[in-house]
């Protein structure tokens, strides 16, 4: 029952993966041209979850617009908020208290671990292994509970405000974070036993979705995906914000450029995040958790840009101010959008099953791409 409409003029099969498809984790729509099982072209179609967050941000005040950005990359909501808060602070030249800086970084790194854990489970599920998902959620749940206790929310925390954090940490916070680190160190080897060392998994990941470092730079691929290709692009190292320059951690680099390299980068990054938290958790300075700011914030006329490292790569916030209470123009540079643009280049010539692995290791979050 094959009809003409099934194929292109060259006789290739065209299939639509998405917007409703188990592999795309959201409403991403990929139009894939196939020759048998081999991919000839991948064309992403966006816009299914476009909420015009940039336009919304422009009509909200400098205190309000931060909350909208939690809905961009909802898996690293803290870090999105952080970027906006930093940008506003840059404009107002607010000095953030040391206590707030430490809390912010601990929260960022906890978010990074939670995000990578969800990625680990979801990527394994894409490859057909269901069990890792539950193991990942076992640990992620602990982080969510810590967030819930201190921030009042589990996913879109809205905890960062211009000048610091919204509220002081919960009395249990330090103990529970330390408990989590103990749990994490006890369980992380399970991840390696279950998936990393699995021969089927390694065969699925190695030499698949190769992205050279030149291509990674050309496509603007950042974050773990870029570092998997050997591009040193960790914003925390290159233009440190808060107190990242005083902390000891390594930028994880892999040079292979294939899916397995990107996988390893993320797994090792979790360990680095734990290292950062360990340095800070017992050394949170006393003092205010928020700087004294005016009730109504007005940025001076000018342009302000701040970039941070989210779990997926470099997030840039660009604010153009005319001196009013709302931004004149806001532009977000989201990591997911650039990372997705490299997918077509990576996928050409590989099998359909590999596409899922590549999408998994790029760690695409669709609301981040569409905004």
């Amino acid at each position: 029952m094959i009809e003409e409409s099934f194929t292109t003029a060259e006789g290739d099969l065209v299939i639509n993966v998405g917007p409703q498809h188990p592999a795309t984790h959201g409403v991403l729509h990929l139009v894939i041209t196939l020759n048998g099982e081999t991919i000839k072209k991948v064309e992403p179609h966006l816009g299914y979850i476009h909420r015009s967050i940039e336009k919304m941000s422009e009509s909200l005040t400098y205190r309000q617009f931060i909350y909208v950005t939690s809905r961009m990359d909802y898996l690293s909501a803290h870090i999105n908020n952080h970027a906006c808060a930093l940008c506003v602070e840059k404009g107002l030249q607010i000095e953030v208290p040391g206590r707030a800086q430490s809390i912010r970084i601990i929260m960022d790194e906890l978010t990074r671990i939670a995000s990578h854990e969800l990625w680990w489970g979801a990527m394994s599920m894409d490859l057909g292994a269901f069990t890792p998902f539950f193991h990942a959620f076992r640990e992620r749940e602990v982080i969510n509970e810590i967030m819930e206790e201190t921030c009042g929310a589990r996913l879109t925390m809205n905890y960062m405000v211009p000048g610091g954090v919204m509220a002081d940490i919960h009395p249990n916070f330090q103990r529970r974070v330390k408990d989590f680190i103990t749990l994490y160190k006890k369980k992380i080897h399970e991840y390696d036993e279950l998936i990393t060392g699995n021969i089927i998994f390694q065969n699925r990941m190695k030499n698949v979705g190769y992205l050279s470092s030149e291509d990674a730079i050309a496509y603007g691929v950042t974050g773990p995906a870029g570092r998997g290709s050997g591009v040193s692009c960790d914003v925390r190292k290159h233009s440190p914000y808060e107190i990242y320059d005083k902390l000891e951690f390594d930028e994880v680099l892999e040079t292979a450029g294939d899916s397995f390299a990107r996988y390893l980068v993320r797994i090792r990054e979790m360990n680095q995040s734990v290292r950062i938290i360990e340095q800070l958790i017992d050394n949170i300075p006393d003092g205010d958790f928020q700087a004294k700011t005016k009730a109504v914030l007005k940025l001076p006329k000018g342009e302000f840009y701040q970039r941070v490292e989210t779990a997926r790569g470099e997030l840039g916030v660009y604010i153009v101010s005319e001196g009013g209470t709302t931004p004149y123009r806001i532009k977000y540079r989201s990591p997911g959008f650039s990372n997705l643009s490299a997918l077509d280049h990576m996928a050409r010539g590989s099998k359909l099953g590999d596409l899922v692995a590549m999408m998994g290791t790029l760690d695409l979050v669709i609301p981040d791409i569409d905004r």
Binding site: P22, L127, G128, F133, I200, N203, G353
Partner: protein, 358 residues
């Protein structure tokens, strides 16, 4: 005393006394048919709940726990739901083939039950070519998948069906070769003879390393043949949504679903029969006392115990391993499993000629 064979004998006696021979035969055939259908349904229900409980156990969850005690009636409720659902046929589909495909899958699974010995002297049909019959009938199951994929008029279905075609046809070879190694040792194709040849020890213990190799090859090959993970490329849901049964719903989907589970049961039953002695209790050579104790455990318990153990292993695979890619899947068969099982068959033949096995 109340073993399966005993009940069957009593029934046969009573029927022969009451009716004339022709009528007895007809009634017995009808009863056998009803028993197959009943077993088909019951196995489907049991295996579905078993899979869900096993997966829950592996995945640190509870699994179904609402319907009935410990959720044991969950699959019954699901079946009821599927029964009352509308069985849709897509507009562009080839209606005849689309509706025929699930029945072929079901009929194949039922036909495969014929030569299996469920207990001592309890078998639907003790045919002298049992092993050959099983390999012949199980090849038909690929037709139902290809038919479903082709008739659905859906690209995902078609790709799933094509993958499945390549996969089942390839893996049948090593499954067949590993089965042959037991046939070579036994010298008979009848499943009954094969079971009786294991009276003083199962083949897995008597056949040294080559039988272990064919046992492992067999388990890998039948996992692939029944489209189970990590070889579930025909329905790889992260790539092809649901593969060949994307367009199926309601009872037509349920038939595919049940057929898959019954197929798993059947291949495990065959594996248990060939390598683990079927209903034959665990015997060690001439240790009469020990063997007598083992004989007290009913033969049906032995059979179902071994079969469900193998089913558990296959479920364990599914919830542990990621899925292979199609080219890796075919490489595994043609470059590794097939040559290994061919050489292994030669070794087994040599062993059988020289009488090296116990």
């Amino acid at each position: 005393m109340w073993s399966f064979s005993h009940i069957a004998d009593l029934l046969h006696e009573w029927l022969s006394k009451t009716f004339n021979p022709t009528f007895t035969l007809i009634i017995e055939m009808v009863l056998a048919g009803v028993a197959v259908i009943g077993l088909f349904a019951a196995l489907g229900l049991v295996l579905v709940i078993m899979e869900r409980k096993v997966s829950a156990w592996i995945q640190i969850r509870l699994g179904p726990n609402r319907v009935g005690p410990k959720g044991m009636f969950q699959s019954l409720a699901d079946t009821l739901k599927l029964l009352v659902k509308e069985g849709m046929t897509p507009d562009g589909a080839d209606k005849f083939l689309f509706n025929l495909a699930p029945f072929i899958a079901m009929i194949v699974a039922m036909l495969l039950m014929a030569p299996i010995a469920f207990a001592n002297n309890f078998q639907f049909w003790d045919m002298n070519i049992g092993v050959l019959y099983i390999s012949a009938i199980s090849s038909i199951s690929v037709i139902s998948i290809l038919m479903a994929g082709w008739a659905s008029n859906n690209k995902y279905s078609l790709m799933g069906a094509m993958r499945s075609g390549a996969q089942i046809v390839s893996y049948e070879l090593s499954a067949g070769l590993s089965v042959l190694s037991v046939v070579v040792l036994t010298g008979s194709l009848s499943l009954n003879d094969i079971i009786h040849s294991q009276e003083n020890g199962w083949w897995i213990f008597k056949g040294h390393l080559p039988i272990w190799i064919s046992f492992i090859t067999f388990i890998i090959a039948v996992t692939a043949e029944t489209n189970r993970a990590p070889f579930d490329l025909a329905e790889a849901e992260s790539e092809l949504t649901a593969g060949f049964h994307t367009e199926y719903s309601g009872m037509k989907f349920a038939l595919f679903f049940l057929a898959e589970y019954v197929n798993v049961f059947i291949v495990c039953a065959i594996g248990a029969t060939l390598f683990l002695g079927g209903w034959m209790p665990f015997h060690i050579g001439h240790l009469q006392a020990f063997n007598h104790v083992m004989d007290y455990i009913p033969s049906s318990v032995w059979f179902f115990g071994k079969t469900f153990f193998l089913i558990f292993v296959i479920m364990w695979f599914r919830w542990t391993f990621p899925r292979l890619r199609i080219d890796q899947l075919l490489n595994l068969e043609w470059k590794y499993l097939l040559p290994i099982s061919m050489i292994n068959l030669l070794l087994v033949t040599l062993m059988a000629i020289m009488g090296w096995h116990f």
